[in-house]
Amino acid sequence: MSSNQESWGSRLGLILAMAGNAVGLGNFLRFPVQAIQNGGGAFIIPYLVCFLLMGIPLLWVEWATGRFGGKKGNHSTPFILHELDPKRALWKYVGVFGIFTNIAVAAYYCYLESWTLNYVWMFIQGGFNGMGQDGVANYFSSYITLNQNYTAIYFWLLCLFLNTYILSKGLSGGVEKAAKVGMPLLLLFGLFLAYKGITLKAGEFGALLDGTVGLNFLWTPNFDSIWNTKVWLAAAGQIFFTLSVGMGSIQCYAAYVRSKQDIALNAMSAGWMNEFVEVVLGSSILIPIAIGYLGVDQVVELTKSGGLGLGFKTLPYLFTQWGPWMGAVAGICWFGLLFFAGITSSLAMGTPVMAFLRDEFGWKRGASAWTFGLIVLVLGAPTVFFFNEGVFDEYDYWAGTVSLVLFALLEVILFAWVFGMDQGWKEINEGADMKIPTVYRFIIQYVTPLILLAVFLGSLPDILSKIQNPGNHYVQGARILLLALYAGIAYAVYVAYRRRKARI
């Protein structure tokens, strides 16, 4: 039996940690770009429908399975899922995704997080002052190609150390404290930048247009897009990324909730807080400021390659137009909020790995945290050194996209059809501080699995074309590494299962 008996210090801390897990860089960089590319204001309709029919049910399912597993001393998905259907060996290996995804995503996400830390440092030093737009863009390019005297590596290592150190302090002493500091600061920075974005005035500090022109562009609905399946798939995908469902981290956090503690209202609070950050703050910063300075056409062109370029190559230059002092404040706020969004998510990725090592092999907290850091260091190194060769994107595709959908589909089938909705519904409602609409019983059983199936089938052509296209040697190496990681975790689960049986 597990000797891992940690617990959350307070309810608010738990909600902030869960919201921090969900709020990530995608809330600020991905959502506004997805909205622009998929019908502007009309995107919010499929987005909210997917949130109601897929996001919320998945949140309840993951919180409920997590708490259920936690009652029996299981805090990571292999044995949480096994607990739902102990007769079949299969689910343990499905649960491997809940550890695999977290390690693989942390491997590249920590690198991304370290960029934000470096940019905060650059703004503190006034490093972007006097640089032209090309200069700022070139800084980013030379940074990720490691041409800045290995600065990228130092910041990556610093970021990894910070994550591991906080994780080694435990749930309430590390993760919860980080969320209690990080989330309020993130909200504060976001409110300040949103205010600056929407009050940007044409003619002031070199702006060409009012910030509200950007808001108008973002929120003008193109209702024809609602009939496009691609838009619905994009909305469903965004809900996945933004809520961090299908990863195994929510189950792990929820496994430390006390057995009779509410999960229904907690899940809603954390989920809606994430939506607030995404829909209200995420839509009011990047696009209004960028359009205010660059105009609609140029921003549309820049967003074709995603929000990352706009956030890291363009926005720092635009901030410097506000003068050295205000530019530095805005830059620190922007990259500071991205850093807090990132670190509260990456901490959630470390917890399931630590929980597995502690539950199954009796490791101490510190040892399991530093082991996680070491694995991420080894696995993340190729994303740092071979970023331009496509390793980063390959990790993101297989671990950060495909695995999430597949895992979520299988876990909801297990919960609703194998564990059974009678037990499942009882589990969700146990200790609930709110009345869950009964219609959600039907939605969890039928609608959510069907939407997930549609999302998976919709992405199958892309998956098949990826498999048929082997890519360069670096990409092939990345795929082999990911396969080896999955196989290694599956073997560890097998060994852990044998140990459990031997104990019985």
């Binding site: 000797s3 891992n4 008996q5 940690e6 617990s7 210090g9 307070s10 309810r11 608010l12 909600i15 502007g40 204001g41 009309a42 919010i44 909210l48 435990g170 749930l171 309430s172 002493g173 500091v181 309020p184 600061l185 504060l188 409110l191 300040f192 205010y195 929407i198 009050t199 005035k201 247009l209 009012d210 910030g211 509200t212 022109v213 808001l215 108008n216 562009f217 929120w219 003008t220 609905p221 006390r258 503690q261 509410d262 209202l265 907690n266 809603m268 609070s269 809606w272 807080m273 939506e275 607030f276 829909v279 209200v280 839509s283 009796g362 101490k364 907290r365 510190g366 501080d433 709110m434």
Partner: protein
């Protein structure tokens, strides 16, 4: 953190000044179409209302006992 209330106060003053100078309202009316404005207000309004409602419910639900905080295997209070 004492810095947080100070920053919040600073932000409030800035927002008040902005509305007093009446810059934002005409800018929105001049540059945004009715359709875009309605979409924005509806979307952000719904999301803000639900977020506020659920947080309010959490803050007003009975306080949970912290008595059964456990000690973890490392001996620290978790």
């Amino acid at each position: 953190m004492p810095v947080l209330p100070t920053l919040f106060m600073w932000l409030t003053v800035a927002v008040k000044q902005e509305f007093n100078s009446n810059r934002l309202t005409p800018s929105i009316l001049r540059t945004m179409t009715n359709l875009a404005l309605i979409t924005l207000l509806l979307s952000q309004g719904i999301v803000t209302a639900f977020t506020g409602y659920f947080l309010w419910k959490v803050l007003n639900s009975p306080p949970e006992s912290t008595e059964n905080l456990t000690q973890d295997s490392d001996g620290d209070v978790a």
